[in-house]
């Protein structure tokens, strides 16, 4: 059931063009849209990670926001400078080291949850991870020397070999476009997204991905094939946490100041929405879902006042307030996507590419392959 060769070559070509196009926005888009794009990139990384857990391993987590917070605050504290007047501590590590260490720290946090994440299945894990978000909020508000408490803490910019991914006055311009923090972070974000999706794809196509998929479809069958259920569940949870950690650290760089409020249960829910809308199980789907959930509300908010019957905020005409209209449209888009593409954006794309009836007709008759070729014998393996 191989695809036609032309189509098979079209996929990678489209992907390459897509990546090239993604190099352009810093030259054309305003700061608002660059920031939206960077939020989307962080969301893509987090969603790819959550998809490993929810889509592939069939586990539920409402604790993703907690691990984003660990990544964001971890980076900020590890790279941050102590400030006695504000009562802040910091390790003053080189920011690039702090970034990597923050991801590892999030992995440790995820691994510490193994006794729970290995033992509990699906919904039960989902409920247990609720606790993480609440405990997380408590810590963020009260461990003030690390987090800065309610008012948060400003985030030191990332520097790699002296190059600052932030606003500085080094006067860097590329093709007459001044390159400030957002422009620079854009390319860092793209790089992180590329690495995150490549690693996830390798993982899913390899032995761990198969084991996790088997676990999702039947724990008994997976165990009987030799998969250690608790160990693999816990590992999936840990890896998914590390993705959240990387996303959190990137978000912190974009925000430049992080506050506890952001890392709420609502954030966890929106990641779930991303992986469900994306279509559970594929890297591309999770990425598409993340872009959908982060960018669509912004687009709608931005253009809602041009829709008939919608009035600009504050004006006194008869009609819907623009921000309300954006909310309604966003809600409707979510519901419609789920109703008409129950297998998500990834499934929608699959169906467009491979019309099912033709696929069935193209497969050979059952009876023709029902019997093994005569004279074929199985030899012992020679591995």
């Amino acid at each position: 059931m191989s695809e036609p060769p032309a189509r098979r070559r079209l996929g990678p070509a489209l992907l390459a063009v897509g990546w090239l196009v993604l190099l352009l926005p810093p030259f054309y888009l305003s700061a608002f849209w660059l920031q939206t794009g960077l939020f989307a990139m962080a969301a893509v990384i987090a969603a790819i990670g959550l998809n490993l857990l929810v889509g592939t391993a069939g586990q539920l987590s409402l604790g993703h926001a907690f691990f984003l917070a660990v990544g964001a605050y971890g980076y900020t504290w590890l790279a941050g400078s102590p400030a006695a007047d504000e009562g802040l501590s910091g390790l003053r590590l080189p920011p690039a080291v702090a970034f990597v260490a923050a991801v590892l720290l999030t992995g440790v946090a995820g691994a510490l949850f193994s006794p729970v994440s290995g033992r509990l299945r699906a919904m039960y894990l989902g409920v247990a991870t609720l606790a993480l978000v609440f405990v997380g909020q408590h810590i963020l508000l009260n461990a003030t020397s690390v987090t800065g408490g309610f008012n948060g803490r400003s985030v030191p910019p990332l520097t790699v070999f002296g190059f600052v991914f932030g606003d500085t006055d080094d006067g860097l311009t590329v093709f007459d476009v001044p390159f400030g923090g957002l422009e620079r972070l854009w390319y860092l974000g793209l790089l992180l997204v590329a690495v995150a999706s490549l690693l996830a794809r390798n993982l899913l196509r390899g032995r761990p991905g198969r084991a996790l998929g088997a676990l999702r479809d039947s724990e008994t069958a997976a165990a009987v094939m030799g998969v250690h259920p608790a160990r693999y569940r816990a590992a999936a949870f840990t890896v998914s946490s590390m993705y959240a950690g990387a996303a959190g650290a990137l978000l912190a760089l974009v925000f430049q100041r992080i506050v506890p409020d952001y890392f709420s249960l609502g954030l966890s829910m929106s990641f779930l929405a991303m992986v469900v809308i994306g279509g559970l199980g594929s890297v591309g789907g999770a990425a598409a879902g993340a872009v959908f959930v982060t960018v669509l509300p912004q687009l709608l908010g931005h253009f809602a006042d041009r829709i008939p019957l919608v009035v600009a905020p504050g004006s006194t005409g008869t009609g819907l307030d623009a921000s309300d209209a954006a909310d309604f449209l966003y809600g409707a888009a979510l519901v419609l996507t789920l109703v008409f593409a129950p297998d998500g954006l990834a499934g929608l794309l699959r169906r467009l590419r491979l019309p099912r009836p033709r696929l069935r007709a193209a497969t050979p008759q059952t009876s023709a392959v029902g019997e093994p070729a005569v004279g074929d014998t199985l030899k012992e393996q020679t591995l």
Binding site: V224, M225, A373, L378
Partner: protein, 268 residues
Amino acid sequence: MSAGIDVPELRVHDVTVRFAGLTALDGVSFTVAPGSIHALVGPNGAGKSTTFNVLSGVYRVASGSVRFGDAELTALAPHRIAALGIARTFQNIVLTRGTVADNLMLGRHTLTRAGFLTSALRLPHVRGEQRAHRERVREIADFTGLGARFDTPVSLLSYGERKRVELARALCMEPKLLLLDEPVAGLNTAERAAMARTVASVRDALGLSVLIVEHDMGLVMRMSDEVTVLDFGRRISGGTPQQVQRDPAVIAAYLGGATDAPVGEETR
């Protein structure tokens, strides 16, 4: 029969399994000789699948022991039992989403090592391992008549083909003991014959032991070396197919149950 792999004896001794208020297995004992095809038969609800679930570590016993060589299986988790070289299929097909190849590669889980980090980085030895095992998996697919379906999603396969995928996936574990739970149930005549041939030739080529649950008595009588008969969780008879066929206890059990194929009737 080649003796290339070292196959231990499977010794089930006095195994009892209880579910709330129900004794599914009651002091069952039997032995599967190395390299033999051993059939486990009995009316519906006799405890055959329960026996399989005990052997593969899915159910815990109330008492009794199951030894496979030196290993005591009743104390082991399913994934440990799999690592000893015991593979099984399910009465109700249980496959994973994905292609035939994906499912068969899952069968290589205990024989491969690639972990999360090395797989994510696709290190050279991971790629080498994947390639080598995929080659062997392809051989097994060809052998079980699934060669043409190697890259087909299992959701597009016929029922008979999916039954084959289960068998092939179990074979991919290079097992010493193969547990087959009703491998020809629901198949048509040609598919049944092909499946029986495959099982027999696997045993002949690899010298492994096969424990098979089957209602098709004609098939059981033809292919098995030894038969154990269960009824209401008890072993009521055992021996060669001819001995069992003549045993009055067996005839009574089947006539009493009357839902399954009577002993000796060739259902071909």
